[in-house]
Amino acid sequence: MNYRRILGRIEREEFVGRDRELDQIARHASRSAEARGLLLLAAPPAGVSELLRQAFDQLFAQRGDAIPIYFSLTQHDSLAVDAAVRFFTTFLQQYIAYRRVDPSLCEAPLSLKELVELALPTDYEWIAALAQSFERENAAGDTQALIQLCLGTPQKAAAAGQIIFPMIDGVHFAGDFRGRIGFGRQLAEIIARSKSPFAIAGPRRQVMDLIREADDVEGASPVIHLERLDDAHAARLVEQASRRYEVEINEQTRDLMVQQFAASPFFITSMMQAAQQANTPLNSFVNCQRVYVDQLLGGQINRYFASIFDRLTPDAQIRKNLLRVLYESLLSETHKSSLWTWKKRIGADASEFEHIVHQLHVRELVNSSGSFVEVNSESTVWLDYLRATYRVEGAGEPRALVVADTLTQTLKRAPRTMARHYRRESAVGLRDLLARFNCQEVAATLFHDDRFKTAYKGIEPEQVEASLDAEADLIRLPQIVHVAACGSFTATSRFGDEERCAVGHGFEAADYVDQSEIVWLAAEVESKLEAGRELAQEWFDRLTDLARRCGFAKVRVWLIAPEGFSAEACRFLTRRSAYASSRRQIELLSARIKPGVESREVHPDAANEYELVIPMGQDTELIAAHAVEQIARRLNFPAQAINQIKTALIEASINAAEHSLSPDRKIYQRFRAENDKLVVTVTSRGIVPADMRVEVDGRTVSPSDQNRRGWGLKLIRTLMDEVEFEHVDDGTQLRMVKYLKK
């Protein structure tokens, strides 16, 4: 949908990558009965302000019941009362503009008297009264009363029967006010009291704190996490900006800007503006970095960071000390220092120091936790600014030298930035793959490169697929509950690209006991040909060293190389119970691993699903058996298959009744009829006692008196085509499938 640009800084068709978020905001505004807040959490500067402005324009054009109001605190609001007054006038202006269907009024320079005159007759009375109250409180000089009046404007509109949808932006600036009176919290509380839907946006590290402090804002507000734009949308954003500012780019420089600026709309737009002003095409890495360095040391990018520092403290010496401390932390191996050290070296008093660290943390320039503070090294632009600014302002180095050094460094870095991006794009996605394991069974040859090559080298792909499906030697993968890059577990940079080395914590068979806990350490190694023993050993040692330092008790090392591993490397890894796979094996594995067990529960055709809950005992399994018989008849299963299904269901029900120690003594059954099969799921709550546990692969571990009584699972596996215990947090869930054989 295209609409007139009112508050948006760019046209709607140029605003890319946020369609979903815009829809969410619009839908939230339409839920006038719910009166709940919508929180927009963003990593600065992710473009949340433009998102709200675009939402305002969209809602204005849609003419829904809720009247959109967009208000942003800014760095220019030095006092709380200034912000409150601006809120008051902004509210009235946008309200009247909406009511009069005249978007030009939103930003027209109008006095309060003019605004009152523009109010519709149906609004005149309460707006005029409000304006009079404003004049009175303003003249009286009671700041608190004036703030209360101004912030209470939405309630006045609500009392007049209007539904307002205020969108409050820039809440992080509320923390900078002198004469601080908890303005941000006060604003949030008052907005929430208006009993209309509303939205609050700001840095993700601050908005949640603000909401927790506010009394009337409900804790269960929906949240939009504004993540970084994906590369495709960011590339479109660069192209749109280049057209808007008429700056020439090419694909290489476009992609470099996306990576270097981490898809930040603010930095990308700043570059385009600067390039336009300098009349410099961004069609080479040299030109890009020249414009960039210029921005870094004196342009908009510099002003962005400088304004943050200016608002931290008015004391120039403290700012200088802070710059030095930040720079020195950056040079240290861990980028980390103790807060106590920082405080001592910065020289600020306790409350000022706390404010400084908090604001840096909110803006994600540092990570502060407990006793330590760490320079956030994720933003290239921030680090470049820090280095260049310290050298010029802190160390007093000649500016020309810093410019030249920064330019040469960024030029040398550019190809590496792109190489890292290309490698990341071509990575197999270890973390996603590990996260999808979820106790699924796969052919063991997918984890043994030597065996895979022996069996399948030179074989047609279709035959490989069929053979893998028929393999009897299977590995049951663990349930991985947490995955992170190897680099997250260590301060060193021995593990290369974070996409190519992962640590996955999990449990075998989703059994949450000590003995079942396992850590998979997976790494994609670079090798043009088969990875040799030396390389395999190097990575094996690297990963096991990490495991040892982190205290992982039980680990599985898994190495992946594009062309697999040499025979010697395979022998080395096999002797150490490590897995080795080639790229091809990973592709086959990925195709076989389903997204997740939970997704099986999502099914499009509820009409073909039946649920039954029976109490345990008293032969109630017969009731379930007769029910499934009727369902199976409808699917035209032959008599023999129906009997098999009934028997399997009886066994599953008995198993649940005997072993579950169920607190509610109920068995939950679900029957889903699909075109070619019947899926039967039997679930019960409770814990399976350890001494009664039966391994799902048929190997019983049970007392001797179970030798005959343990036939139930054996029967189920024989009678049904697929049998699987699915992990549930409490109890057991058995899934059985019978295919309708034509």
Binding site: D619, E621, L622, A625, Q640, N643, Q644, K646, T647, I650, E651, I654, R708, R709, W711, G712, K714, L715, T718
Partner: protein, 122 residues
């Protein structure tokens, strides 16, 4: 001897020194134990052959089958001949899956069972 039946027992009848015991519709733990008790009582009464007739049995579960194994074991220990008859195809499949058919004769009907038993006693 006349047929015997009661709420807490299974139906049975005697033919010579053999007893025919009729399993119920659902061979579960309870009914399996009833068959087991009836078999024991018949043996104590001097029967030397047992036929368990499954003509009414539609469904079995593994617990019931495991109790039948106990009956088979007891028959072997006491040198008593045991035959199963009239099991439907599904029940026969289950007996085969669980290995029962290796330890006991399965015949089509009661007459065949009695003939087999009388022949083997001759």
């Amino acid at each position: 001897m006349a047929d015997t039946a009661g709420p807490a027992t299974v139906r049975s009848r005697c033919v010579g020194d053999a007893a025919v015991i009729y399993a119920s519709n659902y061979l579960n733990k309870l009914n399996g134990e009833r068959i087991e008790r009836e078999c024991r009582q018949q043996l104590e009464a001097g029967r030397r052959a047992l036929v368990i007739n499954f003509r009414d049995t539609e469904l079995v579960n593994s617990i019931g089958v495991s109790i039948l194994m106990c009956v088979i074991d007891a028959a072997e220990e006491n040198d008593v001949r045991l035959v199963f008859s009239n099991a439907n195809s599904h029940t026969i499949d289950l007996f085969e899956m669980l290995g029962l058919s290796r330890h006991v004769n399965l015949v089509n009907d009661e007459e065949e069972a009695l003939t087999l038993l009388s022949g083997s006693s001759a």
